[in-house]
Point group: C2
Chain length 385, copies 2
């Protein structure tokens, strides 16, 4: 590491320390002056009023040097906006969203990363899968299935490492041998949630990563989850809400994703389940697209034209090509009991002459059979649902 | 009955006999010439080619007199478009729909009715509840709940008397002491479905009715179900699909309802259930509004402005009125472990001076408590989902 690089890291680590994210005024100040000059100005108290307001409550905090040492000791790196692997394209939409009044629409000042720091690459094609902590078996099963299916289609799966839906999505992605990224609402060393320590270790392996904009030691807090959610939304092309109560954080993530112009998707569930009520509200309000399968998610979130569901993916039925009269004749036939043409005519309301012409056509198509006791219906395969 | 009235009934009963519904050319011919002159022309073979094509296969059938006798014997009446209780407003939309190419968009030539013939009244405020025959317990439970809830809100519940969703909707309406209307795809004397004979008897009681445009003795057939579905759609202001496979008749009813400009609604369910796949497709395709409760159905299908869900129907939470900083301070408080103001400031990222001002506000709102060991959070009731 060159002295210049170290100086940049120190400045960024310091900036992460001096304000509670998101700090839009400070972020703008840093963009304007560069990280090192901005950090110096903050240290010296020489910042405009709006920046000063954001940094005011953070004067008693440890030094950036210590964070870099702690980070190094725990195998974490500080990924900075000046780095080529900074996902700048993903974060670029914050600017537009902020102009549109989207809450918390500011990029992070830097990101603590454990695992692969190649974030620009891993999030180039990514979907976030989010939902309730107190998920049902239904929700967890789907989240795991989507995680597995999405990595199989080349997507990175982004989530928040929480219990319930998040954890299931990460696990599904790992089971599929794919890349998954977890964004935390606390320092990487905090070990939250406690039961997911080994899951996070698995996420960090391979091309995956665990991220946080919070310095080492920062405890989780509810407003941090909401602030963190903007990163989950921003780091993916689309967000799928698998299960969410009416007031859940996942709905918040969906709202930010919508504000960033991302594809917002929601999975329906039983209307009797409070865990699907948030999804149903998103769908009723027209804020989300209804998805029921990995194929539908991939179609919606993939690059335009990729992952299109071909019409063949929908079950077809033998009678799809029939005209109205042909269908009426077909429907007038019984699977077992034979009928003469005139009987079929009366049943179907189709003229006898037409019935006599149509029956051999159906026979040729394998839909009707001529037997000893008259015409019967044949079904090559079940098309009924 | 005057001789004129009898003559009209005979003409209409005859017209129901001579063509398989829907018979749009014959229907137009009847509107143009009146029922009696049209019937005479059909008998004499003096009809235009398009009408002749519709009536061709029906020359071997019994006489209208016999139908009127059979109808009388089974307690059924023939309701004709000339009657004041003909639901002409409901059927008026067929004309517009036919111009837009909606399939089967023709009103019935008459309706056989058992129960109350006051159809214009009973269908003035009506919702149809439809779905799969092979419904799940989930679907049947919801259909019954909606049937019950809708009659409680003054709606008539229209359905098709089939096993599964239809039957549950009728039963729910009856249990709620309300009016329900069943539209059959066969003659009223056919006794189909066999297991619903006593249900149909119950439907006919009070202000309810069982209807069919098919003459006595007409057996059910698949194309008749599709044709019948247009009447279910037309007789109600909105259609709710509770459960439907991808190719179900209920989806067909929904399609016609949409073509008639009616409100189309679908109930979501587990994506793992093939019985909800049709509902999810309707929702994905933007053809239906997602509904999860009777209140939502009533709001969508009721007269404009009636049945609006008040904001109070949605669960509110104690913190709804809080500003961003107040919320951050509130979230920084623990339910058990007390914290001093400066600690709360660091946790929340809110300036100490502001925290000192906000804490008493939260205390006054019953959201925070000042104790021996500092500030704690108070929760008046659970608002979490």
């Amino acid at each position: 590491m060159t002295p210049g690089e170290l100086s940049l890291l120190l400045a960024r680590a310091y900036l992460l320390r001096v304000a509670e994210p998101p700090a839009p005024a400070l972020t703008r100040f840093v963009v304007e002056h560069g990280a090192e000059r901005a950090a110096e100005a903050v240290r010296g108290g020489r910042v405009p009023g709006d920046v000063a307001k954001e940094v005011a409550a953070r004067n008693d905090l440890r030094l950036a040097e210590q964070d870099l040492q702690t980070g190094h000791a725990m195998g974490a790196r500080l990924l900075v906006p000046e780095h080529e692997q900074w996902p700048r394209q993903r974060f670029a939409d914050f600017e537009h969203a902020a102009q549109n009044g989207v809450q918390n629409a500011a990029p992070p000042l830097a990101l603590w990363v454990r695992g692969s720091p190649r974030l620009a690459e891993s999030t180039a094609s990514a979907v976030s899968v989010v939902g309730s902590r107190a998920a049902s078996g239904y929700g967890e099963q789907l989240a795991a299935e989507f995680g597995h299916g999405l990595v199989g289609r080349g997507f990175t799966v982004v989530s928040g490492a929480a219990y319930g839906i998040d954890g299931a999505a990460h696990r599904g992605a790992l089971a599929g041998g794919g890349t998954t990224v977890a964004v935390l609402a606390c320092g990487l060393d905090v070990g939250y949630p406690a039961g997911h320590t080994s899951l996070l270790r698995a996420v960090e392996s391979g091309d995956g990563a665990v991220l946080s904009e919070y310095p080492p030691g920062t405890p989780p807090a509810r407003h941090r989850f909401l602030v963190r959610n903007r990163l989950i939304a921003a780091l993916s092309a689309g967000t799928v809400v698998v299960e969410a109560g009416r007031r859940s954080g996942a709905r918040n993530t969906a709202g930010i994703a919508g504000g960033l112009g991302r594809v917002v998707m929601a999975v329906p569930g039983p209307v009797t389940s409070a865990l699907s009520a948030g999804c149903h509200e998103l769908l009723r309000d027209g804020e989300a697209l209804l998805v029921t399968s990995t194929a539908e998610i991939a179609e919606a979130a993939g690059p335009m034209g990729d992952h299109l569901i071909s019409p063949g993916d929908r079950p077809s039925r033998d009678t799809d090509g029939l005209g109205e009269e042909e269908l009426r004749v077909f429907e007038a036939l019984d699977l077992r009991k034979g009928a003469a043409a005139d009987e079929v005519s009366v049943r179907s309301g189709v003229e006898l002459a037409s019935v006599r012409a149509i029956l051999p056509v159906l026979e040729f198509a394998g839909l009707a059979a001529r037997g000893e006791y008259g015409w019967t219906r044949r079904r090559r395969r079940s098309g009924r649902s």
